[in-house]
């Protein structure tokens, strides 16, 4: 269970151009489910996702993960938390150009000091499951859009994170690929993972695999339904 209590995030605090990206949001996200944050651009959903994923710290309010208070932890503890709990799929995927798919996928495991053969076997198994095994040695810039996304998913899961966080995952995908992505998400939930994503794509929040949709506008929650 992830719990947010009156969380506010200000950018450019105290300066002209101050932005209230998230405004006193209280929220509970259940485990083993797929939750979607929806809303128009600028509604604060990406900022909220960053706060949930311990990528950004709230200006005020509390964030609890399984009853542990994580807001206010110093950066190095946040990194620990991020590393052990979350896998991220970014909107622009953020794979590192010039490195191979396999090198990109194993990246989050590099600082953990695990047996490299074991890490590689895990990565290959994950790529196999995502139909990417044949492209493991290929530099990531040669992948298609859908392949790039699946590589990013494989990277997010290499450390076996219980919670997958995805920011606008289908923004650049056609309908076929969107359905394929939803199937992957469904499979992950069935593996016992929690998926939290943002989207303004109706195909996503109407999909069968989605358990909860939270609607945002101007940094506030305006609707919540399952």
């Amino acid at each position: 269970m992830i719990s947010l209590q009156t969380v506010t995030k200000l950018y450019n605090e105290g300066r002209p151009g101050e932005v209230r990206a998230v405004d006193e949001v209280s929220l509970e996200i259940v485990r083993d489910a797929v939750t979607v944050l929806k809303g128009p651009s600028g509604s604060g959903k990406t900022t909220l996702l960053s706060i949930i994923g311990c990528m950004a710290r709230p200006t005020s309010g509390r964030v609890l993960i399984d009853d542990r208070l994580v807001s206010g932890l110093p950066e190095r503890f946040l990194t620990e938390e991020r590393r052990s709990t979350f896998g991220f799929v970014f909107q622009r995927f953020n794979l590192i150009r010039g490195l191979s798919v396999l090198e990109n996928v194993t990246l989050p495991a590099a600082p953990l000091g695990q047996d490299p053969r074991e890490v590689e076997a895990r990565a290959l198994a994950r790529l196999e499951a995502l139909d990417l095994a044949g492209k493991a040695a290929m530099p990531v810039e040669y992948l298609s859009g859908g392949e790039t996304q699946r590589a990013a998913i494989a990277r997010a899961l290499i450390n076996d994170a219980p919670i997958l966080i995805a920011d606008e995952p289908t923004a650049n995908l056609d309908t076929d690929l969107t359905h394929r992505f939803l199937d992957i998400v469904g499979a992950l939930r069935d593996e016992g993972r929690t998926v939290i994503m943002t989207s303004h794509d109706p195909r996503i929040w109407q999909a069968d695999h989605v358990n909860a949709v939270i609607s945002m506008q101007d940094g506030r929650i305006v609707g919540e339904y399952a």
């Binding site: 990528m55 590393r83 991220f88 953020n94 989050p108 600082p111 047996d115 490299p116």
Partner: protein, 380 residues
């Protein structure tokens, strides 16, 4: 393999994969860096070997040289002072030295003519011992060829060469012509009873100051030169040459520093973004810094090893061919000597520190700023 070790290897792997993306540029960087190290290492190794050689060889020289000055310049010294000097406590031996230069108009070389001090080494009249360089510049291919010296047009003096001094000691003997005392005085028209200068040997070299002060009371006009003075002069001369060399290398070093600063510290927007990605996927600041340390350490250690090894080979197997004019100097009769290879651990360690540390540090400074930033920038 411990986890810590595996972590470092994984970070090194990532650094190398990242470097391999701009293979040409990074290999170029190592080559240029190695070249700079090579120049500095050559200068260090050559000078250190030569200084060591000079110190060892001249350790047997007389502790004190007494020269007479006239009008501020060197003049002959009278033989009577030998007994006065020998009477000073602590002095074991006092000998008058006879030496002079001879300019050979045949080839423009300068020979050093000398009378050996050691009674066992005294030559018979008409005999000479010559250094390795004399037959070389004179083209005396015939082993027993006599030596002819001409002081002026129509004059010719013949010496039978009884021995050519082994080229092993070329460093001190290459231009030497050793003669009998009577021949020497005759050749230079020198009256009896005067010497070029006086060599003093003492029992305990720590007493040299006391002996010098007593001797200068006896001979207020004279100039005293200690073996340490001579040794210091050589050390300075070689350091000066080494310094010129390093100064030349400094220009290259500066150019390299600009290049390296741009490469290593001027973190491009793309690199900053990559560090953001690494942080977002779960690397912490220490991981990023350790990764960048590997980059700096691998590049600079590689350049250090290549440069130092090339410098060693250059100095000791190729006789410092590239920088010989600077490091060795020149003369018409230059001794044909090979330096004894010398590997000074402290010096090599110092070279390691001045090459590897600054570069590695330079790669780190800007990373610190980026690595400390919040990773959520990659979300935007």
């Amino acid at each position: 393999m411990t986890p810590a070790f595996r972590r470092q290897r994984a970070l090194a792997d990532y650094t190398l994969a990242a470097l391999a993306r701009r293979r040409g540029k990074n290999i170029g960087l190592v080559v240029i860096y190695a070249l700079v190290v090579f120049v500095v290492a050559s200068a260090l190794l050559f000078s250190s070997a030569l200084r060591h050689e000079a110190d060892t060889v001249l350790a047997e020289a007389p502790e004190l040289i007494v020269q007479n000055l006239a009008m501020g310049r060197h003049d002959m010294i009278k033989g009577d002072v030998i007994d006065d000097l020998a009477a000073i406590r602590g002095v074991t031996r006092v000998e008058g030295r006879l030496w002079g230069y001879f300019y050979d108009s045949v080839n423009g070389a300068n020979y050093t003519l000398m009378v050996p001090l050691d009674p066992d080494r005294v030559l018979a009249p008409g005999e000479a011992m010559i250094g390795e360089g004399v037959p070389r510049v004179r083209g005396m291919f015939w082993e027993t060829a006599p030596l002819f010296l001409s002081r002026y047009s129509g004059d010719l003096v013949r010496f039978d060469v009884v021995e050519r001094i082994s080229s092993e000691s070329a460093l001190v003997s290459t231009d030497l012509i050793l003669l009998n005392e009577a021949d020497f005085r005759d050749f230079f028209g020198l009256p009896g009873g005067v010497y070029t200068d006086i060599a003093v040997t003492v029992r305990n070299s720590r007493e040299i100051e006391t002996i010098m002060s007593k001797a200068s009371a006896l001979l207020p006009e004279a100039r005293f030169i200690t073996r340490d003075d001579i040794s210091r002069t050589y050390q300075k001369l070689f350091s000066w040459r080494e310094g010129i060399m390093v100064a030349l290398a400094a220009a290259a070093l500066l150019a390299f520093a600009i290049f390296a600063a741009e490469k290593a510290s001027g973190l491009s927007a793309e690199e900053a973004r990559e560090i953001g990605i690494l942080k977002a996927v779960g690397w912490n600041m220490t991981d990023v810094i350790a990764m960048k340390l590997w980059e700096g350490a691998l590049i600079s250690a590689g350049a250090f090893l290549i440069g130092t090894l090339a410098g060693y080979l250059h100095v000791f197997t190729f006789q410092a061919g590239l920088f010989a004019p600077i490091l060795k100097g020149w003369s018409v009769i230059y001794p044909d000597f090979a330096l004894t290879p010398r590997f000074d651990g402290v010096q090599i360690a110092a070279l390691f520190l001045i090459t590897v540390l600054p570069y590695t540090a330079a790669t780190l400074v800007p990373v610190w700023r980026v690595a400390a930033a919040d990773p959520d920038q990659v979300m935007r």
